[in-house]
């Protein structure tokens, strides 16, 4: 295609969008609303995923070292824990540190544990362990329980399993819902764009009579679909960006303990997903229906 033709086709497409006025507005609106719904749900899904991941990250195994364990056993235990292939983080908490923590937790009533320092400390040395994959926690806990110098292992069994089950369900539901929404969006957008072509099928016929080649007829429609899809995608991206920024600002002052996906990451995702979706569907929708009407 010559550059001159390219400009001609784009010019024709823009003219057609402007002169078809309401039809263009309507198709942009449908594309924008559909993508806004899809985009909003994606934002929700990202954040739910992030929060559940956060919760899962906090799941850990606490391993209490046997008080009777020999120095050799203690060393071996540490080596085995650090060398465990599924282990993400190994953190030793001495009994002194544990007592300090307890004092801090008790706050004003820390006097309750006063006098237990040093030899009188009733607490034990322990390890705080995090597995690479949080769901592996029960298996890993089962394995390390048998290591030398271990008194007992606690990973919150009975609480952790339902939590994982719940986060799994949330994740799957999000994916299924999003896939459903995406399919709906594809159909809605493609059909809307096709409708804009359908209404003007007579123009395709006229162009054929005039002696235009199929591509000469097709290009303006293709560019029109592209432009409609592009504008229809940019609008929800802007809305989501400003809406999400406001929501994050509100959340930071009101529910600061919940961490949310940053607006920059969100906008990046939206641009990566919604923009191509709008543009590709716009182009496909119009090319497919033009092709149909080109067959006389």
């Amino acid at each position: 295609m010559h550059i001159r033709s390219l400009f001609y086709f784009i010019g024709e497409a823009l003219k057609s969008i402007a002169r078809n006025g309401w039809m263009s507005v309507a198709s942009i609106a449908v594309v924008a609303i559909t993508l806004l719904i899809l985009g909003s749900f994606m934002v929700l899904n990202y954040n739910v995923t992030l929060i559940t991941e956060d919760v899962k990250e906090q799941v850990q195994i606490v391993l209490y070292v046997d008080e009777e364990a020999s120095g050799e056993d203690r060393l071996k235990l540490q080596q085995k824990l650090v060398g465990h292939p599924q282990m993400e983080e190994v953190r030793f908490v001495s009994r002194d540190e544990a007592l300090e923590r307890l004092k801090r937790q008790l706050g004003d009533r820390s006097y309750l544990v006063e006098g237990y320092e040093g030899e009188d400390n009733p607490l034990r040395d322990s390890y705080e362990l995090r597995t690479k994959i949080p769901e592996d926690i029960a298996i890993v806990a089962g394995e390390i329980k048998e290591y030398p110098g271990v008194d007992y292992v606690d990973y919150g069994s009975g609480v952790v399993e339902p939590l994982f089950q719940f986060t799994g369900v949330v994740r799957w539901m999000g994916l299924i819902f999003m896939a459903g929404l995406a399919v709906t969006a594809v159909f809605l957008i493609a059909h809307t764009i096709r409708l804009t072509v359908y209404i003007r099928r007579k123009e395709i016929m006229i162009m054929k009579y005039v002696g235009a080649t199929d591509w000469f007829i097709r290009w303006p429609f293709v560019f029109e679909g592209l432009i409609l899809g592009f504008i229809g995608a940019v609008i929800p991206i802007i809305i989501i960006y400003y809406g999400y920024n406001t929501a994050v600002a509100w959340a930071q002052t009101n529910i600061y303990f919940v961490s949310l996906v940053s607006p920059e990451d969100i906008i990046e995702e939206m641009v990566k997903v919604l923009l191509p979706l709008g543009v590709i569907l716009g182009v496909l929708g119009s090319s497919i229906s033009v092709r149909r009407f080109l067959k006389v």
């Binding site: 002169r19 054929k208 005039v210 006389v296």
Partner: protein
């Protein structure tokens, strides 16, 4: 003797309608000379429009041979047919078929854009008497004015022939006469071949040659030695 422009032999066109085969043309022989105005007369269903579409390269005959000079239309590829439509044929329809979203000027420009040897658009607009309405959209023009734009569009490509399918079919008498006069003028001034398809027998009085079509066959051909001018025709 005028030069032969088109020669079609034994043109047949059949359509498959479910189990039944319907013949629109049953073996038409048709010739067209340069610079003549031909009227094809016939009742509806006689195959007029089918013939026009085949002559114009919009449709293909199911059988028969069709020559445009050395060019064999019955063997032409889609691309060649498009090229033929673009450079040799101007179409004019009963319902004008203008692009609703383009102005009078842009409608004519549309066909000039793709032609190899287009005529001046403003000159054409002046000739059809619509210079003032250059930037009006079809919806802002009367039927007669729209048809005049369509004629200018057909001519803008500077084709060898203008094919008109009931060009006055939806116009009042005065507008119809105006359109016919333009067609006659273009035939004479620009040396174009003009084919008018109609069921209005009055129009045939201004033709150089009249082809009568009946049931998909040529019934008879009459040569008119003293054609009337458009103003003398009335219905």
């Amino acid at each position: 003797m005028a030069k032969l422009l088109i020669e079609a032999r034994n043109i047949k066109k059949r359509y498959q309608m479910g189990e039944v085969i319907v013949y629109a043309l049953r073996g038409v022989d048709f010739t067209l000379y340069e610079k003549e105005l031909v009227v094809v007369l016939g009742p509806s269903g006689s195959g007029k429009s089918t013939l026009l579409n085949i002559i114009g390269g919009m449709d293909r005959a199911s059988e028969g041979e069709f020559y445009f000079g050395d060019f064999h239309l019955h063997e032409a590829s889609e691309r060649q047919l498009t090229y033929y439509r673009r450079n040799e044929v101007g179409f004019i329809f009963q319902f004008y078929n203008l692009m609703p979203n383009l102005t009078a000027y842009e409608n004519i420009d549309l066909s000039a854009q793709i032609a190899e040897n287009p005529l001046d658009i403003d000159g054409l607009l002046e000739q059809v008497g619509l210079s003032e309405r250059r930037d009006h959209f079809p919806s802002q023009l009367s039927g007669g004015e729209q048809q005049r734009v369509a004629i200018a569009r057909g001519l803008a490509k500077n084709p060898r022939m203008l094919l008109c399918d009931e060009p006055t079919g939806s116009l009042d008498l005065a507008s119809g006469i105006q359109v016919l006069k333009l067609l006659r003028d273009f035939c004479d001034d620009y040396q174009k071949t003009v084919v008018i398809i109609t069921h209005n027998t009055e129009i045939s009085k201004m033709a150089d040659r009249v082809v009568y079509l009946k049931d998909g066959l040529v019934d008879k051909v009459e040569i008119n030695d003293s054609p009337l001018s458009a103003e003398q025709v009335s219905w």
